[in-house]
Symmetry: C2
Subunit: 125 residues, 2 copies
Amino acid sequence: MLLFNSRDDEYKVIVLVRQDIKMSKGKTAAQVAHAAVACALAAKKREPGVFEEWNGNGGKIVALKVDDERMLFEFKAIADEQRIVNSVISDAGRTEVNPGTCTCLGIGPEKQTLLDKITGELKML
Amino acid sequence: MLLFNSRDDEYKVIVLVRQDIKMSKGKTAAQVAHAAVACALAAKKREPGVFEEWNGNGGKIVALKVDDERMLFEFKAIADEQRIVNSVISDAGRTEVNPGTCTCLGIGPEKQTLLDKITGELKML
């Protein structure tokens, strides 16, 4: 029995997206993609077993809303404290937002049950 | 002089997103992220030099619109013909779309100039 493959305990990557900056659908998608790529590569290097379990089971990715930069970094602090792979994405600022603007935070791959304890209150994007 | 680092000739990943299926902003972002991760991992394996140039220079990702599945696969055929790394994302269908629905196509990382020749007519998402 592969416990990690059950719905409750599968691995996922969550990406927290700031709602206080205005981004188009495409820009948002690209920023979330940056976060997912950064998390995937970091996990592949640091925790190859976790990476394989996540990626081999569909590589679930979920985008969630955070109010602002402060809230984003509060979640980063929690992820750091719990030693969960995470990556803040700051934009080069060629389009839409100012250079260096932190747009989103990727967390994981980590078990769904653990991530839901941390960010379970956040709404889906 | 690092030619690949110039604005005209940098590497990028483009993700073509079907406009004939209805997806929320978050769902769209997650699908684009899947495509970017798949392309990044495939390039890292098959073309590590290209991957490093792309990822080391900000890992540009751009989301573009395609009308429907047929158009998506026409672009896939062109990418295959030109041997450009590409990945069709089909959704597990737990939410919003039917299981197995092809939602988007990631192409690259490849040089901007080449990709623009292929998909230059497509609008930004």
